[in-house]
């Protein structure tokens, strides 16, 4: 590995209002879930130290307001992102349908240098609700969409129960790391993070 190293990895969480962005972030960083998170106004972030191959990274996870009306703020917050997490609620078709809007909006506002290969990760959240009985977006449908957008890694999560959250964020971190490395060093594809076994997910392509 070359010696110039990034230590900060910036991750943006996007998705419709109420899909669980704040909860996912808090479950991952603080291992906590609360029913009383307020609607996010503006933006906030949490950080978490992650380690890969004896190297420490700070994962900076940005949580943003989900209402469409605040999308224009993105310009200030999205720039410099290394990975974008798109979240929908498996019990809400609209939140799934909107993934495409969020993805495109992100690419426009963050204008990454290589939009074709910018890493996204999709999370279908709230799989715990009603024992899965109120679910309206099938895993198959979600995976098909992810495949059509360049094999976006996909996870089904429950921020409330802590299901798959750790795995999802590990994948997110690895993908972020990849972008970061590619930006600063000319040698891509040199990161070998091993293949982790992840239940209910295709896992990371990295």
């Amino acid at each position: 590995m070359p010696s110039r190293r990034r230590t900060l990895l910036k991750v943006i969480i996007l998705g419709d209002s109420g899909v669980g962005k704040t909860s996912l972030m808090n479950q991952y960083v603080n291992k906590k879930f609360s029913n009383q998170y307020k609607a996010t106004i503006g933006a906030d972030f949490l950080t978490k130290e992650v380690q890969f191959e004896d190297r420490l990274f700070t994962l900076q996870i940005w949580d943003t307001a989900g209402q469409e009306r605040f999308q224009s703020l993105g310009v200030a917050f999205y720039r410099g992102a290394d990975c974008c997490v798109l979240v929908y609620d498996v019990n809400s078709m609209k939140s799934f349908d909107n993934l495409n809007n969020w993805r495109e909006e992100f690419l426009i506002q963050a204008s990454p240098s290589d939009p074709e290969n910018f890493p996204f990760v999709v999370l279908g959240n709230k799989i715990d609700v009603d024992g899965g009985n109120s679910r309206v977006v099938s895993e198959k449908k979600a995976r098909a969409w992810c495949a059509s957008k360049g094999n976006i890694p996909y996870f089904e999560t429950s921020a409330k129960e802590g299901i798959n959250v750790e795995e999802a964020f590990q994948c997110i971190a690895k993908n972020a790391l990849k972008t970061g490395e590619e930006e600063e060093i000319y040698l891509p594809d040199t990161i070998d993070v091993g293949t982790s076994s992840q239940p209910r997910s295709t896992g990371c392509e990295c």
């Binding site: 209002s17 109420g18 029913n35 009383q36 998170y37 307020k38 609607a39 106004i41 503006g42 933006a43 906030d44 972030f45 900076q60 307001a65 989900g66 209402q67 009306r69 605040f70 224009s72 703020l73 310009v75 200030a76 917050f77 720039r79 609209k94 204008s111």
Partner: protein
């Protein structure tokens, strides 16, 4: 030569319309005799047209004047025109005459000195055109965008180059006549004169950078501060000189003011500090100015931050023994002579909240508020006791007028209740089948449902399953989204409604108080974010005025968009204080006693309190945002209100000039009484 002869515009509807009104009176530009007359009538060609280019003559959104901007080429000359749309005045206060006052009639570019563009990330782009006479037109807001195209078109026809000093200033014909340029530079105040260019630069460059540039420069703004009173231009026979002097005066005022305020703050930092500490304080502040004057004497510690009286003092750390003796003398002189005056300027001690007995003294026998201003002042300094809020808030919010009697208000309550029920019934009567085909309704309802269940649920008033108050929040917000369908529902509204419902405890009354609040804060939720942008912009101007080192720090660290204040502004600090405190803050803000925009001074006060930490720890944008978010729950309201009051008083007119027209919360009319009800029922 008259402009009308410059080219044939008889087929131009706008032009013809304005001609009818014009007469000989109210020609905006009385210096038209100076105009060159080199062109022939034929051969005029419109090379650029842009609709919905708008002037904001006052701060009231209802008084904007939209029109059409054109560039017209005739022979080798390029002209700019802007005509207001006819019969479009949205307010009775704007007469046709007023509108014509702003008309720009064929200004040749030989008379244009520079164009400053503002391309905020949020809100409308606008330009300020400065003439070589030193006059400038009011900002022209491009509601449909197109500033870049406008400049590019000009560049095709006249010599245009970017100012070396400021990438957003474009100099017109700057090299044509070096001597004239020098002369006019001498006459013009610094604020208007753009820097001399070093080399021509391409117009269309680094769009992304421009895009991110959120706020303009103060200097450009100051040139616009004297523009809004367009009428003044008519009377001067030598406008160049008059305006120059005017601006120079303004400028020296600002400088003088800045000096005085910093002095004031240093010397009056007595509240809460003993006189000994006060001395130290003033020393360290003066110490700083000396260091600044002598860059060689830089402090080795990079993160040294000059102190400011408003900031939090962790302890008394510095000891500048060498300067002490000389400075104490100066200080004591000021201290003795100025103390009384200065303590007036400093934020007054907060008072206990207004209680029932005192409240009764404000009312006449029929329940009218006799002296509204005295009441507002009283509440400004102490708030009101909780049990009185229900009654008092409806006045402060403008739902009830101060002149109304008890009987009238009671009658209004019943009328308004019916009206509320009627609007509420509109959405209640939507059948499931209808809702299936009514996406907008479903979406709004869904958003509201998601938000009310996460609004202040830790409060006993809103906690527990199936809480009836949560349902009321839902019903009121959904009804509001029908009452104001254009604005609809937006996140943050539930935060604004929650304390109102808590206080009013009545569905209909809460609704109408919320309506009144949204009359002021509605623009916060505009789709184009223009309301938010103008407030963040104003904060940046106020910080520049009131704390230049902090402003420079933000500038260097790419923080001038002030997005870290977004949450503060959007929901009036709702997330930053405990519930009781937020009610106190809101009633103080709603008095509009010192300024409608006290909340902006509150922002500046909080930032100033933490300036040394912000600068000392070299916070970047991310860290700053995090820091600000985490201040939630740790802000001393009374202290901040005193600071804000002091800042507001000290900033005075200069502060007001920092706040662009149309900045929320704007009141519809300001005629001495607070705000007459537009739909008074009695």
């Amino acid at each position: 030569m008259q402009e009308t002869e410059l080219y044939d515009l008889s087929d131009d509807a706008d032009y013809a319309a304005s001609q009818q009104q014009q007469g000989s009176a109210s020609m905006m530009r009385s210096d038209s005799s100076k105009r060159s007359s080199s062109s022939e009538p034929e051969g005029a060609e419109v090379v650029y047209t842009k609709d919905n280019v708008t002037i904001h003559p006052t701060q009231f959104a209802s008084e904007r004047i939209s029109g059409r901007l054109k560039l017209i080429k005739q022979g080798s000359s390029l002209f700019m025109t802007w005509f207001p749309y006819k019969g479009q005045s949205s307010s009775a206060r704007l007469s046709e005459k007023d509108m014509n006052l702003y008309t720009i009639r064929a200004v040749p570019f030989t008379e244009v000195r520079s164009i400053r563009r503002h391309t905020p990330a949020l809100g409308w782009q606008y330009i300020i055109v400065v003439l070589s006479s030193g006059l400038a037109f009011p900002p022209l807001y491009f509601y449909n965008g197109g500033v870049r195209e406008f400049l590019a078109t000009i560049k095709q026809h006249v010599f245009l180059m970017r100012s070396a000093e400021d990438a957003n200033v474009f100099l017109v014909n700057d090299l044509q006549n070096p001597l004239q340029r020098t002369l006019s530079s001498l006459e013009l105040p610094r604020a208007v004169v753009a820097g001399l260019p070093s080399a021509p630069q391409s117009l269309v460059e680094s769009p992304s950078q421009e895009h991110l540039k959120a706020v303009g420069e103060f200097h450009g703004e100051s040139s616009s501060t004297f523009q809004y009173g367009g009428r003044q231009r008519q009377k001067g026979h030598d406008p160049t000189r008059d305006i120059s002097i005017q601006v120079l005066e303004k400028f020296s005022l600002v400088t003088k003011f800045a000096r005085e305020t910093s002095q004031l703050f240093r010397e009056t930092h007595s509240n809460g500090y003993g006189s000994f500490e006060r001395k130290r304080n003033s020393q360290s502040a003066i110490d700083y100015t000396q260091k600044e004057a002598d860059p060689a004497k830089k402090v080795p510690n990079q993160s040294f931050v000059p102190s400011d009286p408003l900031e939090k003092k962790p302890n008394i750390e510095h000891n500048h023994d060498e300067e002490t003796s000389a400075l104490v003398e100066t200080f004591e002189l000021i201290d003795c002579k100025e103390f009384d005056k200065l303590s007036l300027v400093w934020g007054k001690p907060r008072q206990p909240p207004l209680g029932s007995e005192e409240w009764a003294t404000f009312l006449d026998s029929e329940g009218r508020v006799v002296d509204a201003k005295a009441l507002r002042k009283r509440i400004f300094y102490g708030g009101v006791e909780h049990k009185l809020r229900r009654e008092v808030w409806s006045f402060l919010l403008g739902y009830n007028t101060y002149e109304s009697t008890d009987a009238e208000r009671e009658y209004q309550r019943s009328v308004k209740k019916k009206e509320y029920e009627m609007i509420k019934h509109q959405w209640q009567s939507i059948s499931p089948e209808q809702a299936k085909r009514f996406t907008k309704f479903r979406e709004r309802k869904g958003l509201i449902e998601k938000d009310v269940v996460r609004t202040d649920r830790s409060l006993p008033f809103y906690d527990g399953d199936d809480n009836p108050h949560v349902n009321l929040l839902h019903d009121i917000l959904l009804t509001y989204s029908f009452y104001n369908f254009d604005l609809g529902y937006c996140q943050g509204m539930s935060d604004l409604l929650s304390p109102i419902l808590f206080v009013m405890e009545d569905e209909s009354e809460s609704f109408w108080c919320f309506v009144a609040l949204m009359e002021r804060l509605g623009p916060n939720f505009n789709r184009d974010q223009s309301g938010m942008h103008s407030q963040l912009f104003a904060i940046s101007k106020l910080v520049e005025l009131l704390d230049l080192p902090l402003h420079n720090y933000f500038k260097q660290n790419d923080c001038l968009n002030y997005f870290f204040c977004f949450r503060w502004i959007l929901i009036q600090f709702k997330r930053e204080f405990e519930y009781e405190m937020i009610m106190r803050l809101w009633e103080v803000l709603w008095t509009h006693y010192l300024s409608e925009h006290l909340h902006l001074y509150v922002c500046v006060a909080i930032l100033k309190r933490h300036r040394s930490k912000i600068m000392g720890e070299q916070m970047d944008f991310d860290t700053l945002l995090k820091f600000i978010n985490e201040l939630s729950g740790h802000i001393d309201l009374d202290a901040i209100l005193r600071d804000a009051e002091a800042l507001c008083i000290c900033a005075g007119e200069n502060g007001a000039a920092c706040i662009p027209p149309g900045t929320p919360p704007s009141l519809p009319v300001d005629n001495g009484s607070l705000y007459p009800q537009p739909d008074e029922v009695l």
